[in-house]
Amino acid sequence: MNEPAKEGSYSNRMVHTIHSEKLVLLVAIIIVFILFSSINKNFFTITNIINILVAASLVGLVAIGHTYLIIAAQNDLSPGSLAAFSGTLCALLVSLEIPFFPSILITLIAAAGVGLFNAWMVNKIRLDPFIATLVTQAIFRGFAYIICDGKPVAISDPSFLYLGKARFLQIPVSVWIMIIAIVVFGFILAKTKFGRSIYAIGGNKTAARLAGLNPQRIIVICFVMMGLLCGIGGIVFAARMNSGQPAANINLEFDSITAVILGGVSFTGGVGTMGGTVLGIILIQAFNTGLIMVNVPSFWQYVARGALLLFALTTDYLRKEKRKKNLLAASMRNA
């Protein structure tokens, strides 16, 4: 008789749990800000926040791709190489007197092609995504050096340089690109057929296929999308640096994956939201920028990043255990 009331409180508790996960992240972000600004007064200033956002713009784009891929129970280790390759390639094409827009187009086609190749390895030779994309990570870092003979390619094209400098409402274009991408891809993930399919194949690929979905096609789209995001990110990054740098963006995928897992995407797939990823991006970029600003030696920064990833994976594990426990408790009640 009091069943509805009891269930009501239970759903409230569920809602509460979800909120509390995001809340923990928010608190973590606040702690990071307080901590770093207490050490360095310049940390919590408009200029620095914009700097953080600019620095986050590339990892942000990649994190969007990782959100899709990891929810679909895939992964990608090639973004750092691919972004460097794309930036170098685009700078090179422009330096060969090819106009800026066709250069962008060619670069993006190449980047999408790499994504397609990643998907092909996963779908057709059944490689684990981790290993498959380790292949492209190595190959395209190599190609980034090969095409420019190892030397950064300076950019002199004014429209290319403008991309790195332009601001709209005080905020740099690179940040706007990230914001627009987050909104668009967040909407697709949460509200569309394609989004639903990603969660389904991440939860159980076999069952999803038997239920009439096409997991291979979904995986292709996700990898190609990641390729394009890396391409765009790489081009914008090159514009900001005034040159295409083949050695750039090492550890990009590392930061991106950390951000996504921190944001609540489960490493084993099927669970996560774009909102969580946004918080994860802010946290990791504030953390990375802060480490530099409070003069943590760069070798130690690696250790700190590793620790942060371990922290992210541990919280992911604890969340999963909690879900399992809730599930068990629920089936005990329903029994």
């Binding site: 939860g203 159980n204 005990m332």
Partner: protein
């Protein structure tokens, strides 16, 4: 003091399943307690709790009055509780003595193993048991019966052995071997050990068991002492009710229509060429032993596996299913056998699970979902199939097995199929939910669907089907009508093949 084992209100849950529900029983030293129950009654879960493999979610486990919380089988063994499993847990390449003293071989202070002493100690136990084997023999050279004896001796060699459990110990033994096993059990009994004996062979229980505890669907039914009740009564306790009536009371479809599905020479990498047809409103049973190729044939038809040869006609028109999606669009859907790995999307809610095949229907032209439509189609499914869930947003794994299965059926029926393939639809579902499923299946036939029912439970396939096709070794070997179907006939066709039966 006599040893005493007691379970007080022990319960064990798995997502969607109550494996053990409030089980209490006692066993004392010098006594053989038999555990009796059908498959899925909870016997093996109970043994796993006994030996620390599982931990109970509720209740108390008392040994000599002390509450036990074994976290691993190792802790249970250290405390004198050993389980002898069907699968031998011994190391084939080691000798009898090495197996008996595995992990605690006698050795010198330097850590050097004293094989001679081990053999001597082992020989004493072997003589105690009156067995004609040498401690130096490698276990792989022994017969299965003696391998089992080695396991028992291994448990026996521990000074503090109090409880020894046998899980279907006679499954692969000959009659004389069974007798020598019983001899050993009686010896253990004389020495005051508590013996738990799991089996469903009535004649053995009559011979060896002092008390019998009956379990059914994870619940405790009764404990009876030797000779108290007849075999028949024991079976009745085990089964709980006569399933015969369930099938007789079904409201079967009597008007079977024209041919709906025609399958011609279909084969894949996993099944040979086969042909059959299915009529509108018909329930077509597929019987056969596990591995006979029933599931594989259906998977080829719906495009889950690549169809190597053959053609499929639906309502007279040839259709090609390159993927389950094509089959679904053409009107053929399949509820897969293994709910956990092939059916339920464990990360999604009840709503998400029902709606996953309706993504096209519930979205607009550019692929944006319509939440209202999603809500409605989920509510319809929950209502139509009486899915017991507190809310559509609950994770599907929270539901009982039967309700999870209903979610998957609801998923498919919402696509308005013409042919519904059910692969072991009642596996792992409790008896009450089963009869509900049977009504549901008959209801589908009445609505004019063609239903293909793959089932390994003979009474089920006989009770429901209008026709039964029997498969053996990846081929269809015969067919019987509802009227002429008997368990004997179908079983002999599945094991020997069709021809012998026709003679």
């Amino acid at each position: 003091m006599k040893s005493m084992l007691e379970f007080r209100n022990i319960s064990k849950y798995f997502p969607g399943v109550v494996a053990l529900d409030n089980i209490s029983f006692q066993a004392s030293g010098g006594e053989v307690l038999a555990l009796l129950g059908e498959n899925g009654a909870g016997k093996s879960t109970l043994l796993k709790i006994l030996n620390g493999d599982y931990q109970p979610d509720r209740g108390q486990y008392l040994l000599n009055g002390i509450e036990k919380h074994f976290r691993t089988p190792h802790e249970a063994i250290e405390d004198g509780v050993s389980v002898i499993y069907q699968e031998r847990q011994i190391l084939m390449e080691l000798s009898v003595a090495e197996n008996i003293y595995l992990g605690r071989m006698p050795c010198s202070k330097m850590g050097i193993i004293n094989t001679r002493l081990a053999n001597k100690m082992a020989q004493k136990i072997i003589s105690d048991f009156g067995l004609p084997i040498s401690p130096q023999t490698k276990v792989k050279d022994l017969s299965i019966a003696y391998q089992q004896m080695v396991e028992i001796m291994k448990a026996y060699s521990r000074e503090n052995l109090k409880v020894i459990c046998f899980d279907e110990p006679t499954a692969s033994l000959s009659d004389s071997e069974i007798q020598s096993l019983f001899g050993v059990i009686r010896k253990l009994k004389r020495e005051g050990k508590i013996i738990i004996y799991v089996s469903h062979r009535m004649e053995e229980l009559k011979e060896i068991a002092d008390k019998t505890t009956v379990l059914k669907d994870g619940r405790y039914v009764a404990t009876v002492t030797k000779g108290e009740v007849s075999e028949k009564e024991l079976i009745k306790m085990m089964v709980g009710r006569d399933l015969g009536n369930v099938y007789k009371d079904l409201d079967r479809n009597k008007s079977i229509g024209d041919v709906l599905l025609e399958v011609k020479n279909v084969s894949s990498n996993y099944v040979k060429e086969n042909s059959f047809h299915l009529r509108r409103g018909e329930i077509l049973g597929f019987s056969g032993l596990v591995g006979a190729g029933r599931t594989e044939l259906m998977r080829a038809i719906i495009g889950a596996d690549h169809m190597r040869t053959g053609e499929v006609f639906l309502e007279g028109k040839k259709i090609v299913n390159k993927s389950p999606k094509d089959a679904m669009d053409n009107g053929i859907v399949m509820v897969p056998e293994d709910r956990k790995t092939q059916g339920i999307l464990s990360n999604l809610s009840v709503k998400g699970n029902i709606n996953i095949s309706l993504l096209d229907k519930n979205s607009n032209k550019i692929g944006i979902m319509n939440p209202e439509k999603e809500k409605k189609s989920a509510a319809d499914g929950i209502h139509e199939f009486h899915i017991k869930t507190p809310s559509p947003d609950k994770n599907a794994l929270e539901l009982s097995g039967g309700n999870q299965q209903k979610c998957i059926v609801a998923r498919w029926i919402a696509t308005h199929p013409k042919v519904l393939i059910l692969d072991e639809p009642t596996k792992g579902i409790d008896v009450g939910a089963k009869s509900e499923f049977y009504q549901m299946i008959c209801g589908f036939a009445k609505k004019g669907l063609g239903v293909i029912l793959i089932s390994s439970e003979l009474p089920e396939v006989i009770g429901l089907s209008d026709r039964i096709i029997i498969m053996k070794s990846l081929k269809i070997v015969g067919e019987v009508s509802h009227e002429e179907a008997t368990e004997d006939r179908i079983l002999s066709m599945s094991m020997i093949g069709g021809n012998n039966v026709h003679e």
